[in-house]
Symmetry: C2
């Protein structure tokens, strides 16, 4: 049968209290005694029963999630996943609160981070904006011993202890690699729609896409990226114009949000020339467009996975336990109409 702390105690010839002191790193155990206990743990293959341990300590992990009040489908889904995780909070002993801040608003984000700090939570997850004041606010949290993980959008060279999101450069390369294969052997242009080049994620995706296309496919030229600001209206206008004015257009890569506008523009185009379209984030809109064939491929980051990963990492950090990085890597999912989940 599975060994318990009692078995460890008798195996090591010490009392339960001593085993407890060793297991939980409490003071008051001489080195040789500690060794005996550790040896017994090793020998019997003891593993702490996490469920019982959590039950015993009755600990709850107050976590704060800071997300932009952006109204695109992805952010809505992300907030939904956080809320869902909050519902499960009872089971997982987390108490999750959500702070929404205006999108792209650096001072507001900094205020939110400081507000979170004031509550002394066990951890903070934040959809970061890549700016110095944000780094400083994160550093303040870290100084207080509050672990911070960035969610979806990273903040490199900061005190954040983990990034729960995809490798956006790799995502861009993946899109480029696919587009290249789709259009291999043809000569023409590819249009690119970004949200904003001030956003790190979008820059990285663009870099990856360019790298994957330019060298291997010299016959494919990349048009200069159109900034749609993640707004459907604007995206619609830009894409409509592009479709009308660019006869050589073979493909479209939409690496930001606002795909509603893109889809509408595609639906409206008069000569239904075949164009390969790759977009990001699986939402009701992009899913529909996949199914009708307007979009060929959607790259996706699973918001649910990201949220759950962030929670796991924050709990582990709060307990001072290590994180298995490989296990927390968020995949870049590729969806065609045929493998929709």
């Amino acid at each position: 049968m599975k060994p318990t702390v009692h078995d460890i105690a008798s195996e090591a010839g010490v009392s339960l209290a001593t085993v407890d002191r060793v297991l939980n790193g409490r003071p008051g155990v001489r080195a040789p005694t500690r060794e005996r206990v550790l040896a017994a743990i090793q020998k019997l293959g003891f593993v702490r029963d996490v469920a019982a341990a959590n039950l015993a300590k009755g600990r709850v992990y107050p976590l704060v999630f800071i997300v932009p009040a952006n109204d695109n489908s992805f952010m809505a889904a992300l907030r939904g996943e956080i809320a869902a995780a909050g519902m499960r909070g009872a089971q997982e002993r987390t108490a999750i609160s959500i702070l929404t801040v205006p999108a792209f608003d650096i001072p507001a984000l900094v205020r939110a981070l400081d507000a979170a700090r004031a509550e002394k939570p066990a951890g903070v997850a934040v959809v970061a904006i890549d700016a110095e004041p944000v780094r400083e606010a994160v550093a303040r949290l870290a100084a207080d011993g509050i672990p911070v993980v960035t969610l979806v959008s990273d903040l490199p060279d900061s005190a954040r202890s983990h990034f729960a999101g995809i490798d956006n450069e790799a995502a861009g390369r993946t899109a480029g690699s696919l587009m290249g294969r789709f259009l291999d052997g043809r000569r023409g242009a590819i249009g690119i729609i970004v949200g904003s080049l001030d956003v790190r994620d979008h820059r990285e995706r663009l870099d990856g896409f360019r790298a994957a296309i330019s060298a291997p496919y010299p016959d494919l030229s990349l048009l200069s990226p159109l900034e749609g600001r993640d707004e459907p209206e604007r995206v619609h206008q830009m894409v409509s114009r592009l479709l009308a004015e660019e006869p050589e257009l073979l493909g479209l890569y939409s690496l930001g949000a606002g795909n509603r506008g893109l889809i509408r523009a595609l639906e409206e185009r008069r000569p239904a020339r075949p164009i390969r379209v790759i977009a990001h984030e699986l939402t009701p809109h992009t899913r529909g467009a996949l199914e009708t064939g307007l979009i060929d491929t959607v790259l996706n980051q699973d918001a649910g996975h990201e949220v759950r990963s962030a929670i796991r990492v924050l709990k582990a950090r709060a307990d001072g336990q290590p994180v298995i990085a490989a296990q927390e890597r968020i995949r870049i999912d590729i969806f065609l109409k045929d493998n929709l989940p």
Copy 2:
């Protein structure tokens, strides 16, 4: 604070014992009283603390996994994942034992199922072979009240209560959809390598692939499938010959195992004509071939996910609890060299 059984008891004005009877479906509660308790549960939003419950019942779930002794990478990985789940058994209160049986050996599989039945486990997971004697053995398990889930390979119209694997027809369609886009506008032939057409999964993949190619891409002709029996040697021979003799060959779809042979044949081909290659299962071999560009795309089913899903389902079934089907659906992963995990 999170409500407990005690809160339910006082809210409903009954004793703890009655709440327990309602919660665990034990007899001895009149309908009106049961209603009161259920109303209290509803009102307070009580959720049973699974950890505490498991701790209290101290139950372990003996599970038997029956897998073929096949030596291909995928089955090896599957066995590895089962073993890994066994290691975690202590935490999850499962006691997993593995039975390996000779591949494609129906009588051996039936014997293994009956042997498992004799041990009266809480559940059985089996990589099924689509044959009547197997159905009968599964029916015997079901008759004993032992839930059975099929793993990787399904057994439709049987008493199995769940299938932990991918939709192979959809996987074939996905491959076809990709291949069609890769080769769109060209005229030529696509070679298909299957393991055996006697295996249900392979038949389904083939059907899906054909459906996705033939109608939309009339210029692409599908060569008749080569049966490689999942043996690298045989696959190597067949593919080498195909590459040499079929000048029009534009693409290859390998929907079974034995991809070592395929990769070797591709490495050896003299005129390095560009051929689009889609294969199944991410293994060290296919991963390497993706990275060097010999293979364009790999479709994958995550063995770890399948094993963990099977365990979750078996535990739920053993407890008589419902399964959220959507949550247990296994995804068809698409990998290019750029989004390898």
